[in-house]
Amino acid sequence: MIFQPAIIALLLAAGLSLAMLATASPFAVQLIRHWDLGSGSERQLRLERLTYLFSMMVALVCGLQILSTLLFVFNADKMSVMFVGAMCAVGALNANAYGFPALYAQLALFFFASTWLAINRLDNQARDYPLTRLKYVLLLAYAPLAALVLYLQFNYFIRLEADVITSCCGSMFSEEADTVASEVSAMAPRQAIALFYAGLGTAVLLALWHWRGAGRRVWSGLAVGASSVVAFFAALMGIVAFVSLYIYEHPHHHCPFCILKPEYDYQGYLLYVPLFAAAAAGLAAGVLTLFARRPSLATLAPQASARLAGIAAAGFALFLAVASFMVLSSNLILLE
């Protein structure tokens, strides 16, 4: 099934990302070894010049990964008609063993990319580019991850076989064909609701507190980062366990992807866009506070961290509001 436009596009994006990161890697090694802003040597000048190119390149790769993540989920949903028993993206991703790992790797890459972009932005604001070395160390870690994504996606797509009619035997659907699992398991709604509101509420409060404190407390920043990660998983679990049930008004339909479909008025985007933005911002807020100790970043890092925490608080709050509204306006009665 490699000759599908969206699949070609995804592989093209992944291949191009990897190619750009691979070209940047030897330079990254050079930079890590020889970077010295105090020196006026020819090599240093060349390195300084090249950082512009590679920063641009990696920024492009990061943007591309954000787009790819969307495209991947979109495409999985579209492909579900091709497989017996697949109703939506879950079924399409379950069509072989590489589907979900590819999605998870893509998501990991997304958060990695957004954090890198935040660090890059902070680094460019400081006079002496204090984080340049770190940025390129991260880039070296980024390249294998991009290679992994390409490997998983390629294996996923190349192993897909659409269940179509063949000229010889009409029913490809014969008894032996196994259907793909189309459901995801979920925890009991009462516990899930408690965890959902506790996790997200904590994240909102911590982020607000960090924002109010102008990002000066390092440990509150770290707490924002950690709570964002927890809240992200709590939110996903909550969507699977009860929010989706209320949206579908069906006590057994747990799919986190169907809410993206036109049948449900694309409501999923109202949930996922603030959620992903908030989680990425919260994570970056946590990471950036780590750099407050560097002299040239003493004011810049807390500032940037506080701003990101503000975005995270707003995003999580918006997500909570939207999810609560969906639950309250639904006709489903899940809890007596």
Partner: protein, 378 residues
């Protein structure tokens, strides 16, 4: 935040006027870029509309069609076969269908002859599809003769012409009564072409199929969802093949964009030199170049997409239709329902804007990092 927006606004302003100053060069790039988007968007809009049309057309067909096979070939359903199926739980209606193909040597085309189950047609009369109306010049009340495979001539009166709206399915259709059909083709009594089954619950369709295979091992059930899947994957495959072929064009475009961006004129070099001399930073020049690329991409994307939309939905995809839609003597003329899909737009974006951006990266950097004094001295 306001200061940042203000700065970008000024940069965009500057970029737009600088693009306007170099009209010839910018226009050349814009035309090529627009053409690329136009071709890619035409292909994807058209296949998407075809896919939708197939889904719409198949929505009214029976969930399962049962054929009988002998030595792997399609054969007639013998008498008593439908009774053998008996009552299958979940099946609303079982019906033997009568249809076949007739080759008309006048037009050198195939018609589909069919006995409709939902309407009665008087003996000696037929109802014809719009393509037949056009090509044989038929109208209501006209008579027409067909030479049967046995050699005899049969004459029918056209009682009605089918609606043009559904031409995609009924273009070459000829509807007639069961008695006429059996007489015309010398079809044995009690035999049918295939069996249609309507199933109420979509989740039961597969089970019904399995039961049919168990009850009648020489049959092959074809499910509607299978037909849909097959159509969808054929259209996807054709579109993918088209795109794979067009990848050469995309590559050529990438090289073209690289050349355009790399070949800075002496004037442009001087411009950048002066900008840097009066205090612009490398980052500012990069931002300016980024906006330049963004403006050109956006404009080309919009122009190309709109042109493709008009091409597909108003001019019936005239340029590439033979490649994608297949071919037939009695080809239905049909208008597609306009539909834009997010996935298609995102895919198109990856195919057009991404190569451009990637190709101009190095030239932009090279331009932005030139030293002002080297430029102005040369």
């Amino acid at each position: 935040m306001n200061r940042w927006i203000e700065k970008q606004r000024h940069l965009i302003d500057f970029t737009a006027s600088s693009l306007a100053r170099r009209k010839g060069k910018s226009l050349g790039l814009l035309v090529v870029y627009t053409l690329l988007v136009f071709v890619l968007a035409s292909v994807s809009l058209y296949t998407h509309a075809l896919r939708n049309e197939a889904t719409r057309v198949l929505a009214g067909t029976p969930e399962v069609v049962l054929q009988r096979l002998i030595a792997g070939r399609h054969d007639l359903i013998p008498p008593g076969y439908i009774e053998k199926i008996g009552r299958v739980r979940g099946v609303q209606k079982i019906e033997g269908r009568l249809w076949g193909y007739y080759y008309d040597s006048v037009l050198k085309a195939n018609y589909t002859f069919m006995v409709p189950s939902d309407r009665r047609i008087a003996e000696g009369e037929i109802v014809v599809g719009p393509a037949l109306e056009r090509s044989r010049g038929l109208a209501e009340g006209n008579g027409i003769s067909f030479r049967a495979y046995s050699g005899e001539l049969h004459t029918f009166i056209v009682s009605e012409v089918l609606a043009h709206e559904s031409e995609l399915v009924n273009a070459d259709l000829v509807l007639m009564s069961e008695a006429d059909f059996r007489r015309f083709f010398a079809y044995p009594d009690g035999h049918y072409t295939d069996i249609a089954l309507w199933v109420a619950n979509p989740q039961e369709v597969r089970n019904v199929g399995l039961k049919l295979i168990n009850a009648l091992p020489d049959s092959r059930p074809i499910l509607r969802e299978e037909v849909l899947r097959t159509y969808a994957s054929i259209f996807d495959w054709r579109e993918g093949m088209m795109l794979a072929l067009l990848s050469a064009a995309i590559l050529a475009f990438g090289i073209f964009a690289w050349e355009k961006a790399a070949g800075l004129s002496a004037e442009e070099k001087r411009e950048i030199g002066i900008l840097k001399a009066i205090g612009w930073e490398t980052g500012d020049v990069i931002a300016m170049k980024f906006w330049e690329g963004f403006l050109v991409s956006l404009l080309a994307f919009l122009l190309g997409y709109v042109a493709a939309y008009v091409h597909v939905f108003h001019f019936e995809f005239a340029l590439f239709a033979p490649v994608l839609q297949g071919w037939a003597v009695l080809y239905p003329s049909f208008a597609l329902t306009p539909k834009i899909d997010g996935l298609q737009v995102a895919t198109l974006f990856v195919f057009s804007v991404l190569p451009y951006t990637a190709a101009t990266l190095v030239p932009i950097w090279r331009a932005a990092t030139t030293d002002p004094d080297t430029v102005m001295r040369s």
